[in-house]
Amino acid sequence: MSFFIDENTKLIVQGITGREGTFHTEQMLEYGTKVVAGVTPGKGGGEVLGVPVFNTVMQAMQETEANATVLFVPPKFMYKAAYEAIMSEIPLAITIAEGVPVHDMLKLHYLAKEKGCRLIGPNSFGVISPGKAKAGFMEHRIFMPGNIGIMSRSATNCYETVFFMKQKGIGQSTCIGVGGDMIPGSVFVDMLPFFENDPDTEVIVMIGEIGGSEEELAAVYIKEHITKPVVALIAGKNVPEDTSMGHAGAIVSPDGEGSAEKKEAELRYAGVHIAEGTEDLVEILLRLL
């Protein structure tokens, strides 16, 4: 039983007619995801890869009973598209775009909470429950079904981890890209209860990085509420402070806030296993299983 998406999820692709939207719709269909509708304003009535296209999320939901959406929409138009999805009361919205203004996210973060929409991303690879469905752009061939739940701020570090896991025969229950932005729709702490309650997940992997305090907040929650083993990796130990590393959220303040050392110390205190790198992380998993 997967908690966000599975083989029964009916997915909308917003931005289906764009280059990336079409390419990844094809990939998602190939994986077995039920993509039931596409939405591109002004292109309603058409079809992409056999999937009907609508002008609005509302109509797409009414005609196809869609219950989730993934947004392949450029950052400039992300706010409008996500706003529409949330106001149409879709229960799950996954946003991919890299470079969304933080003030836009600030508004969406609260709107989603108010409307009861689970907003994932932006700057995220999406969500995948291997063997069941994927909503996002991750290269699905490296994933395989299993009992490890992963949440990651970085797409590439998650791929890297999953790739080594497969070599060792370890699979995943659900992998979630929470994204690398300063104010994401959902953060580690929001995901932890889902993994804790998920019977398919035995070990939780958290792939964090420098900047912000999401790992510290997760540490506090883990100490009090999580019974399953947690393994964490914090990327960016050796990058200069006060330098933007690409992810808007991955920046250490000159006063040391957001440093890898602080995060690792607080996670260790909460009983979390700390990995040095992706390969080391998989070694730890092998010992735990």
Partner: protein, 380 residues
């Protein structure tokens, strides 16, 4: 994008915040033309994209024309933290009765904007928090277009700011909040916010940090960002929508990758093996062959770089596009060594293309293997 003082002032003027009059000068000729029109005494402030200016002597006073020339010449010839002073900002010298601190920023932990106020300003906010913990008000705000009156009143009562200043203070708070929202700020700060001898409230120095992701809706800031950038490679990379990050001047390795996470992991592992990365370039997601070719050219044009490590784990980025880019770019990088690791979307197609490329190209089977090859090449 952190704005230097005079650019922050431009925005303050635009939002009608009370500021002292100022002018911008970038040469001695301009100073000479100005010296007889000034109302002395004045303050000359070096405009550099870094902190610690006062300590480095970047703020000078002049009480007459000859002092203006003398101090101006000194400032225009100096470097602060290795940054040459090209512009000085000259304002009236104000008699200060009281120095305060006011800012709006993002509280990432609570995912809300936060207003920070202290009637004890003039120094760094961390210093205020240390010296006067009871004289600082931090108010978390609900995301909104306007600032509520009760927030302002709360900040005043909490810190003991006299009611006499209420009208002026309210105006300044509301206007600075408008800057914060209107300019997509990560930080909008006035420090010091002063009260002069005539009891007027004036923003004497300002800091504005505009969210880089919002620059498409702030053309003036985007243009300015390019104007002041000293590093040509950052500019060139920006032109192709890449992020070029200088890491360490002692290093010789450039890392190119398709995501921030992978860049950080690569640097972590390379550093752990005792090697040093000098720069990194983030392709972002979905780069095409033509752009990848340019990324190679850009990092190779850094004279410190003798080895390029391309580490790709393709999701939205396709390995065949990377390979085509390498094929096109390999002749642009001279003798620079190339270590490539390809994994993910369209990997097989990518490997096929790379295998046909001649030159000093080594394939790595993974990140760890890639770092291994790098260290062998460097004979560690």
């Amino acid at each position: 994008m952190k704005l230097v003082e005079y650019k922050a002032y431009d925005i303050f003027y635009k939002y009608d915040l009370p500021c002292s009059e100022g002018c911008v000068v970038s040469s001695l000729e301009e100073l000479r033309d100005l010296k007889d029109t000034m109302k002395y005494p004045v303050v000359l402030k070096a405009q550099v994209q870094t902190g610690g200016r006062s300590k480095a002597g970047g703020v000078q006073f002049a009480s007459n024309g000859s002092e203006l020339l003398e101090k101006g010449e000194k400032l225009l010839g100096m470097k602060i933290k290795n940054l040459p002073v090209r512009i000085i900002f000259i304002t009236d010298k104000v008699e200060i009765k009281k120095e305060m601190y006011l800012s709006f920023t993002l509280d990432r932990k609570h995912k809300k904007p936060v207003m920070i106020f202290s009637p004890e300003g003039g120094v760094d906010i961390n210093e205020i928090a240390e010296k006067h913990p009871d004289k600082i008000a931090k108010v978390l705000l609900a995301p909104s277009k306007t600032l509520d009156d009760f927030v302002i009143q709360y900040a005043m009562d909490k810190t003991g700011l006299e009611q006499d200043y209420r009208t002026d203070f309210k105006g300044v708070c509301q206007k600075l909040y408008s800057v914060f929202i209107g300019m997509d700020c990560i930080l909008a700060e006035i420090n010091p916010l002063i009260i002069d001898n005539d009891d007027k409230m004036i923003a004497l120095d300002g800091k504005i940090d505009v969210d880089d992701n919002s620059l498409y809706r702030h053309d003036d800031v985007r243009v300015f960002r390019n104007e002041i950038e000293e590093n040509k490679l950052i500019l060139e990379a920006r032109h192709f929508d890449f992020l070029y990050i200088p890491i360490n001047n002692e290093g010789n390795i450039a890392v190119i990758s398709n995501g921030s996470g992978m860049i950080m992991s690569s640097i972590d592992l390379i550093t752990k093996r005792g090697m040093t990365v000098t720069c990194a370039l983030d392709l972002g997601g979905g780069a095409t062959a033509d752009r990848i070719k340019e990324s190679l050219r850009i990092v190779a044009s850094n004279p410190l770089v003798d080895t390029i490590f391309i580490n790709i784990f393709g999701g939205i980025t396709r390995c065949d596009e990377i390979a085509k880019g390498v094929e096109k770019g390999v002749e642009l990088i001279g003798k620079t060594k190339l270590v490539i690791r390809l994994e993910g979307t369209n990997k097989e197609k990518g490997l096929e293309i790379i295998n046909s490329v001649s030159g000093s190209v080594k394939m790595a089977a993974g990140l760890k293997n890639g770092v291994e090859i790098l260290s062998q090449d460097l004979k560690l």
